[in-house]
């Protein structure tokens, strides 16, 4: 028979048990061979006409698929075939295989439809439940459409087992086929009132899942849920109901008010930790405006926190982080426990604790908390250590360092962090070092100091994780070299031999920094007047005039005027004598001492030393294969070449000669120094967009004629290089400030804000400078409008920090309760109502129609009858309150009274629903076999109309269903 197994084969077929045993016997690593051998067998056996053989083969295949990840998609048809067996174990094997292996794209799925329907309508409830279980896993839109009528009948089954499973299956069916909602929803709701606990449990489970997706649609069912919340004693059910209320309470404050007390009652009464925890979570996440409830919940959290069970501690911390968003006091109260948890045995608990600690950080305690955390980081394993560091870095830099007051402290903290052995946060620290350097003027001396300490330590160069930090430090030291106390030392650090351990890109930064240092030194040494000039033009350069070149011992000794440098010296000494051929400046200076000699010599020595240092360190790199390094080395050596020769020559000549010769070196150094003293400021992300495109510029034009133009162009170095000097920029800025576009009052307003801010922080951010720098970046600076934008931008920035600071003052300020203001509400609801529409969530759409449909009023009459509606609403609300009152009373009263009450309630709804139902059924009946597109369209149109109505009227409508 098409080569199928014979009877003998069937008799000697290996059972599943044999297969499992063979797995246990195989040698290590031999698993794949066992699997492939078994698969060969199965392929043969599964074609058998004998169902027992087939079933055994399918069982084996299922086992291999489930636990050994073998492919069994090829056997889908065999599973379908076997499912028609009347023998229950065969059917079970077939359905199990189907539910474990079928995917939505399995093509034989539709062949299963009839078998499923047959089993669903079977009298044997075991068969029914097998079919339901399978359907709940493999359901596709087609299956759902074909089988939802059968499902509908089963929702009312008298057998609890069947009904329960049918309910659970609806969830899957709804998600696949939204029209099933119209058929089954009413029945589903009725099951909420079932006396059978498991039925209720399953129903609540379904609603819980549905409500998580689209809570608003289930608001009308609140009374049913409320009853379960109050009456049920089953923890599983209560947990689910609490989840539903967590979603619903956020939508309606009155509902929240109703449920808060029962939830607290559960929290007090229950001994089940899971239920207590769910209550706590519900209160903290959705009902956090109720102070007393939150207090109670936090007390429970505290019990969790001090428990021996690590699970409870973990959840306690998690709950704290939820409440911490709105009630920071709860976290503060448990500060010790949280801090102690940082050294817990469990990394997950540690991480939670860390998050909480960071949540407590404010500008008052940031120093203290960082101190504590650093000590923990030093003790921690590498992974957690970096977690801590990451949190510190991100918390401190949040909102442009809003919580940092003492930047000197923070910068030295960054230095300290860099030295923690496990630190792997190089990139982040690098970014912050440069960022702070650009943003915060006052911290630059400290920044350079920290950078210097990092740079001079040769040991750090051996740690690849720190390279990025060193890169930042090198950049800072070069950029703000004027704050350095000892440039020679800095130069030595930048050029130390171990820098060859750095990756080329970072080494290039080192060399560039060395370039800046050299330029600065030359500038100070040879051109004191210019240095002084540039310092006056640029406020940061105050330091640059001070005798930094010679090293700090000279600082105390001499006044600025007395500061010795080559130029002054050579001018004052009219006839320099040449002793050693003038190849070194040192000898020359030694002889010409009319001013304090010590500094003079030091200066000369150090200048010479610096030249040699640069030469010896960088000369070998000229042949570097790295473009960046090569280029920069050439630059710096070139500068050296130009200046050194001229200067040396200059000393050997007469004064007049010197003056003229010196001009060239003077020009070069000045130019370089000017280039480097240009302040670099932070640029807004959107800055480029603000540059207006000049009129007449066509960006997408072919540039083929560019070559001819370019041939003629000589790039004017000075103008392209110095994009506006600081002082001129400032002048520009001032003039723009006074332009009529910015009101004087406004600018004064800005300045008061600014001064306030500065007073607060004792620091100077860079709003004004930043502005200029930004404005100078772009050629069309003569456009006043753009200038305006930029100033506004900076102003906004200042305001922003101001605002965030103001907000900081009251961090525990709870989110305002949603007040029923018309404007706000309109906005809110239009958003909420539009969302499902845009998502085209058919389930909720269908649901809304079902639940609100009977009360929906055409939108045209809606607006006119608003006053009527409101009166109607108030009536309903009072009735609703009565209803709840009854429920409460009934707790102590007879259960029958409650029952009757609910009954009537249910009946009312039933009446409404039956009307609706008839309509829906009719509709269904008509077009079930016809193209569904037609109905679809109609449904959509109505839904849209509903949507419009909802936008206007949803709030008036909803309360009708409320408690």
């Amino acid at each position: 028979m098409f080569g199928g197994p014979s009877l003998m084969d069937s008799i000697f077929q290996r059972s599943l048990e044999d297969l499992i045993k063979s797995f246990r016997l195989h040698l290590p690593g031999g698993e794949p061979t066992v699997v492939s051998k078994a698969l060969d067998e199965i392929r043969y056996e599964i074609r058998s006409t004998d169902l027992t053989t087939k079933a055994a083969a399918l069982q084996k295949l299922t086992y291999l698929h489930s636990l050994h990840h073998a492919d069994m998609s090829w056997a889908a048809f065999h599973a379908v075939e076997l499912s028609s067996s009347a023998f229950l174990p065969h059917k079970r094997a077939a359905y199990l295989a189907a539910s474990l292996s079928f995917r939505p794209s399995t093509d034989v799925l539709l062949l299963l439809t009839n078998q499923l329907r047959k089993d669903l309508t079977s009298t044997n409830h075991l068969e029914v439940s097998l079919a339901l279980e399978c359907l709940s896993v493999i359901c596709t839109p087609d299956l759902a459409r074909d089988l939802s009528p059968d499902l509908f009948t089963m929702l009312g089954s008298s057998k609890n087992l069947v009904r329960k499973k049918a309910i659970a299956t609806t969830l899957r069916v709804f998600s696949q086929y939204s029209d099933a909602v119209r058929v089954c929803f009413k029945k589903l709701v009725e099951n909420l009132e079932s006396g059978d606990v498991q039925t209720v449990s399953a129903t609540v489970g379904v609603f819980c899942e549905l409500a998580l997706r689209e809570p608003r649609a289930y608001l009308p069912l609140a009374p049913e849920f409320y009853r379960i919340l109050v009456d049920s004693r089953n923890n599983w059910v209560l947990i689910k109901v609490l989840k539903v209320f967590a979603k619903l309470a956020a939508l309606d404050p009155r509902l929240a008010k109703k449920v808060v007390e029962p939830i607290c009652e559960h929290m007090r009464r229950s001994g089940a930790k899971s239920l207590v925890f769910e209550c706590v979570r519900t209160i903290l996440s959705s009902l956090s405006v109720y102070e007393s409830a939150v207090k109670l919940a936090v007390a429970k959290v505290r019990e969790f926190l001090v428990d021996d069970d690590q699970n409870l501690r973990y959840l306690g911390l998690q709950a704290l982080s939820v409440v911490g968003l709105k009630h920071l006091w709860a976290v503060r109260e448990n500060k010790e426990v949280v801090i102690r948890s940082l050294s817990d045995a469990d990394p997950n608990i540690k991480l939670q604790a860390l998050q909480l600690v960071m949540a407590m950080v404010s500008e008052d305690n940031v120093t203290e908390i960082c101190r504590v955390l650093i000590t923990y980081a030093l003790k921690a394993d590498p992974e957690f250590c970096n977690e801590i560091l990451g949190f510190i870095l991100s918390a401190c830099s949040r909102n442009v360092y809003e919580i940092i007051i003492d930047f000197d402290w923070y910068v030295s903290l960054l230095g300290e962090i860099s030295r923690i052995p496990h630190c792997q946060k190089g990139e982040e620290i690098e970014n912050q070092l440069t960022d702070i350097g650009m943003r915060v003027e006052d911290v630059r001396p400290e920044l350079v100091h920290v950078g210097r300490n990092l740079l001079i330590d040769p040991a750090l160069l051996g740690n690849p994780f720190i390279h990025r930090i060193l890169c930042g430090a090198a950049w800072v030291s070069g950029e703000y070299v004027q704050f350095s106390t000892n440039q020679i030392e800095l130069m030595e650090a930048l050029l130390q031999p171990r820098t060859n351990l750095l990756p080329p890109s970072i080494r290039a930064v080192y060399i560039q920094s060395a370039f800046k240092v050299l330029t600065f030194c030359l500038n100070v040494a040879f051109l004191p007047n210019e240095a002084a000039y540039s310092s006056s033009s640029c406020p940061i350069n105050e330091y640059s005039a001070s005798p930094s070149f010679a090293g700090h011992e000279s600082l105390a000794d001499c006044e600025q005027d007395e500061f010795l440098n080559l130029r002054v010296l050579s001018q004052s000494v009219k006839a320099p004598s040449v002793k050693n051929g003038g190849d070194t400046a040192v000898n020359h200076v030694k002889t010409s001492a009319s001013l304090p000699l010590r500094n003079d010599i030091l200066t000369q020595k150090s200048a010479d030393k610096m030249f040699t240092l640069v030469k010896t360190a960088l000369a070998p790199l000229v042949g570097s294969h790295e473009v960046e390094i090569h280029e920069r080395v050439c630059n710096i050596l070139g500068l050296l070449e130009l200046t050194q020769n001229e200067i040396s020559d200059g000393f050997s000549m007469e004064k007049g000669n010197f003056e003229s010769e010196e001009l060239k070196a003077y020009e070069i150094i000045k130019m370089m120094r000017d280039a480097f003293s240009e302040e670099i400021g932070p640029v807004a992300v959107s800055a480029r967009d603000r540059v207006p495109i000049p009129e007449g510029l066509v960006l997408e034009e072919n540039l083929h004629y560019l070559e001819t133009i370019c041939g003629d162009i000589q790039f004017p170095i000075s103008s392209s290089f110095f994009l506006g000097r600081p002082h001129s920029g400032e002048r520009d800025g001032v003039s723009f400030f006074n332009r009529p576009i910015i009101e004087v009052s406004e600018s004064s307003n800005e300045s008061t804000l600014l001064t306030e801010h500065r007073k607060r922080h004792g620091l100077y951010y860079l709003p004004s400078d930043k502005k200029e720098v930004v404005s100078c970046e772009y050629p069309p600076a003569n456009d006043p409008k753009m200038q305006d934008d930029i100033t506004d931008d900076a102003e906004d920035l200042v305001k922003l920090t101001e605002q965030s600071l103001v907000r900081k003052k009251k961090p525990s300020q709870a989110k305002p309760r949603p007040v029923v203001l018309k404007l706000d509400e309109g906005d809110e609801i239009s958003v909420a109502a539009e969302k499902p529409e845009s998502k085209d969530d058919m389930v909720s759409g269908a649901l809304r129609e079902l639940l609100f449909g009977s009360d929906a009023i055409p939108p045209s009459t809606q607006i006119n009858s608003s006053d009527k509606l409101s009166s109607k609403r108030s009536g309903k609300v009072s009735e609703v309150n009565e209803n709840v009152g009854n429920v409460r009373k009934s707790e102590c009263g007879t259960p029958s009274s409650r029952k009757s009450k609910h009954h009537s309630h249910g009946k009312e709804r039933e009446r409404r629903s039956s009307e609706k139902n008839v309509e829906v059924r009719e509709e269904n009946g008509q077009s079930n076999k016809q193209k569904s597109g037609h109905r679809h369209g109609r449904h959509k149109a109505r839904q849209r109309a509903d949507g419009v109505a909802n936008v206007v009227s949803q709030t008036p409508v909803i309360p009708d269903f409320l408690l």
Binding site: Y63, L67, S129, A168, Q198, A202, C208, L315, N348
Partner: protein
């Protein structure tokens, strides 16, 4: 969907039972199981039973040589899932009598069947041991 998958894994990291309530391809399953097993089996007794992995929360518990791992979404109540695992173990214990890894290995179908009685579509639908076991006993009688 509350529960996304249920795994039973032995000390060596071999999967003994895998039930998914959402469709994943074989490769996805293999990868997920590998990652989770590596993460959870490395943890010790002093550490808590909850691990976050990808967008799942894994709640796990160890019984003798077998780990029960349940992947849930973020809304789920962790303690309830722990209770569920315990209930599952108790149910199996009642059926097999002092359940061990071998029982589950050799009666995988039954184990699946019990799970299906307890969880459908990721929702816990049955929590009474006798209710869970009744259909299984009936089915045993039928065969």
């Amino acid at each position: 969907m509350g529960i996304r998958f249920i795994l039973m894994v032995n000390k060596q990291g071999q999967t003994r039972l895998a039930q998914y309530f959402e469709y994943l391809t074989i490769d996805q399953r293999r990868a997920l199981e590998g990652e989770i097993v590596r993460k959870c089996l490395a943890r010790n007794e002093q550490q808590c039973s909850f691990v976050e992995h990808r967008n799942y929360k894994i709640v796990y518990r160890r019984y003798a040589s077998l780990f029960f791992l349940v992947g849930v979404d973020n809304e789920e109540n962790e303690l309830a899932i722990l209770e569920f695992i315990h209930l599952l173990v108790e149910t199996m214990d009642r059926h097999f009598g002092n359940v061990c890894e071998l029982d589950i290995m050799f009666h995988l179908e039954k184990a699946h069947f019990m799970l299906e009685e307890m969880v459908m579509n990721g929702c816990i639908v049955e929590t009474s041991k006798s209710n869970i076991l009744a259909p299984i006993q009936l089915m045993d009688k039928a065969s």
